[in-house]
Amino acid sequence: MAEGIRDKVVILGMGCTKFGERWSDAPEDLAVDAFTECLSDAGIEKKEIEAAWLGSHFDEINVGKGGNFLGMALKLPLIPVTRTENFCASGTEAFRGACYGVASGAYDIALALGVEKLKDTGYGGLPDSPAFGQQYAMIGPNATAPGMFAQLATAYSAAYKVPMEKIKEAMAHISWKSHQNGANNPRAHLRKPIPVEQILGAPMIAYPLGLFDCCGVSDGSACAIVTTPKIAKKIKPNQDLVKVKAIQVSVSSGEEALYTDWDGSGMLTTRRASSKAYEEAGIKNPREEISMMEVHDCFSITELATMEDLHISEPGKACDDILDGFYDLNGKIPCQPDGGLKCFGHPIAASGLRMLFEMYNQLLGLWPEERQVKNPKFGLTHNLGGIPNQNVCSIAIVGL
């Protein structure tokens, strides 16, 4: 196996807007806000950025195609801008592009920015789009994201013989936890703690997912500037550096959608990408070594299944860990310390970089005490795009 990019790239600076229903802001406004904060944090000038990667997903209502949006919004001086689109992994893909640009020696300093303006859609949920091509659009089910992910729950219940009541209870704990964490975070979209009883009693969106099992649909942007450890040391001689330990992506092979061995209870891509990421980062036992995580909790059931797919909870045992508080802010591995997609919000292509923004600030110990994870060493971020049977997974691990 190739040696990977462990410790070859350092995050020099990051920025992230408040996520939410930013009715009065254009995607340009969101990108400029995230970039301005990021540039100031990095301590460099714009002209020092040699290449940029732009993550954006929904062509229909967002920033269009190509890299022009970023070049023009930020007035980047005719440098290369590459648009990355890979469902909900689009932001992490932008980050991967920038990191590879630096690790390869092609550039000293590179920019990754994710932006998504969803709240011009006109209706709740994500925009309807022929995401899997025209033939699938004509013959695939009349489905939405919650309904596709909800099936994880029915399949999980059947695969592990876990009663739906227990799954509902664990899912409610997941949402409760994210609301607790989001309430403490001024940049989060949803900032109200919600009692478990209210979560369990919420209207059904897609069986068995209720309203609070579904994440916020938000506008937002997040941004990173990356460079080599040597240059970073020169620019920031007196502080810890957040290093990139691993970035891995896995894309469905058709094994899930077409081949009947897959039982639908979890994601094959996450299992592979996380194994590869631990290997790249030199992590032997993730349950002991990972300090904190931001995972793709588009729906509470996704987070539940992901705990097993990341090889942290034993297969069939995620509900027990969740209900034991293992993933709470004061648990062994705090999961979604910033509120997660659930409460921080989910502007598709900004989410991967938003997760890294949280890990970066946690690793540098920059958060107020009530939401600062104690002595973190490794932070893991995870995105899952598409639908469980045909998806894209990205994993990044950053650390000191």
Binding site: Q134, I139, P141, A143, T144, G147, Q151, T154, S253, L258
Partner: protein
């Protein structure tokens, strides 16, 4: 010997009690109370004459090698297209060969039997064989009209051939009259009719006896020769007087299904014929008469082979498969008689890309997947590179039709966010019993009918209707198999 080889029927699952209609619309014409008895069969929101004809044709062709079928005649006055042959859609759903004869018959309620006569003539002439004639109708009366109460939805199919005949064709006689009791202009959605007394007395009352006398004279037969006499007539009183006038005895009468289905238009005499065949015994002579813009009359004689035909759903099996539609507004919505708000998500455009559809028509109409010749793995939609991780060969597959084998639920949900005129949208992953899997819409069910591992049939349905371009698009959906059903 030329005649009927097989039969099949279809009655949609949902039944609307006529008092539910009268409860909402009786105020506009209290005399409609006379028609407000029993229930009518109502096509689901994703059914129309094409899908019902396909279901009846599939029931009829069940157990027959599809490569032997030499044609499909579709008969209906409610075809979803004026130009685009609906028979090809039915043939596609049957996953038939394409070097066959296909034709649509319409224009009159007698078009079902006219299609049948054409098929019989073709087989007699030796120019075609094993033609499936499938008739379906889904006619609409305006809100508050007598027709709204009288009409019902359904389909029936007969396969016509020259071997293994269950009912031999003995002859036919036809009339054609421009007697406009009911009509729809080329732009009309709703049936219009002239005064009922005139239809009853001058229409049914004269044309049925005329055609029956005609065929009996032609073949030198008397009505007493027939075990069953089938003719459509939704007026109970007129049936009585016609029976009396012609001397049709009670044991010769075949029930019109008016109380449980309603007048199924072009399918009506065919449905009654299927019901008669379900109960027939060798030697029975059956007189089949249709009505509408004239009449057709056909004579059949049931053979010993009737006992060799494997059981099928037919009419009786479908009548037992039922659920109440207890909401008149829902009926109006399903038939697009009223405009409902499905949210802005419901306004997103559906694009029908005809070049894509032709390229993939075996996938989309016939539910044809691919089977790897190297490892046997079945895949849908068809794949050039085998998905089996331990195989992976390229271009070594053969087609396999997955519609008949059914499947099992692998995962499911019930979605209130998806835009639908029949929410919630219920869908999930289905593993085909023949191998492979796909994500299907579920229909004719509620989420309570589903469990991981429970069996489903695949049913050819309307996938969407594009109102902007008047396109009805079809694909397959999964229907839970009711407990105890065959």
């Amino acid at each position: 010997m030329v005649g009927i080889r097989s039969y099949g029927g279809y009655v949609p699952r949902y039944r609307l009690n006529r008092m539910v209609i009268f409860g909402s619309m009786g105020w506009i014409n209290p005399a409609n109370m006379l028609n407000a008895q029993g229930e009518k069969a109502v096509a689901n929101f994703d059914e129309d004459s094409v899908t019902m004809a396909a279901a009846a044709a599939a029931d009829c062709a069940k157990g027959f090698n599809r490569d032997l079928i030499g044609g499909v005649y579709f008969a209906s006055t409610t075809a979803s297209y004026k130009e685009r042959l609906c028979a090809n859609l039915v043939a596609g759903a049957l996953a038939m060969r394409e070097d066959v004869r296909t034709a649509d018959f319409g224009g009159a309620l007698k078009c079902g039997t006219t299609a049948l006569i054409s098929a019989l003539d073709g087989v007699s002439a030796g120019t075609a064989n094993n033609i499936v004639v499938s008739a379906a109708d889904c006619r609409l009366g305006t809100m508050g009209s007598p027709q709204e109460l009288m009409f019902g939805d359904g389909a029936a199919a007969l396969m016509v051939g020259d071997t293994d005949i269950i009912a031999e064709f003995k002859g036919s006689f036809s009339t054609g009259h421009d007697f406009v009791d009911h009509f729809r202009g080329s732009e009309s959605k709703y049936d219009r009719q002239w005064e009922e007394r005139w239809i009853r007395d001058e229409g049914f009352g004269k044309f049925i006896p005329e055609v029956i006398s005609g065929i009996c004279d032609k073949y030198g037969m008397a009505l007493s020769d027939f075990a069953k006499v089938i003719y459509p007539c939704y007026f109970g009183s007129a049936r009585k007087s016609i029976n009396k006038k012609l001397g049709i005895e009670p044991d010769q009468v075949v029930d019109s299904l008016q109380a449980v289905v309603g007048d199924a238009g072009a399918a009506q005499p065919m449905l009654m014929m299927v019901k008669a065949l379900e109960e027939a015994k060798p030697g029975d002579k059956i007189l089949l008469v249709s009505y509408g813009s004239g009449c057709d009359a056909l004579i059949f004689e049931v053979t010993d082979k009737i006992h060799e035909l494997k059981p099928r759903r037919g009419v009786l099996g479908n009548l037992n498969r039922r659920a109440d539609l207890d909401n008149y507004a829902k009926y109006l919505t399903w038939r697009r008689m009223v405009t409902v708000d499905t949210g802005l998500r419901g306004e997103e455009q559906k694009w029908t890309r005809w070049s894509l559809m032709w390229r993939a028509h075996r996938t989309m109409l016939s539910l044809e997947g691919s089977k790897c010749k190297a490892c046997g793995t079945v895949q849908f939609p068809p794949q050039r590179i085998c998905v089996n991780p331990s195989c992976g060969v390229t271009d070594q597959s053969e087609p396999i039709v997955l519609s008949e084998g059914g499947g099992k639920v692998a995962s499911f949900t019930s979605d209130m966010l998806a835009a639908s005129i029949n929410p919630p949208a219920i869908y999930g992953s289905v593993n085909f019993n023949l191998g492979g899997r796909f994500l299907f819409d579920f229909t004719d069910c509620t989420v309570d009918d589903l469990a991981v591992g429970s069996p489903v049939d695949l049913s050819f349905r309307v996938k969407y209707y594009d109102a902007l371009r008047d396109i009805t698009d079809y694909f397959w959906k999964a229907v839970p198999v009711a407990e105890g059903a065959e």
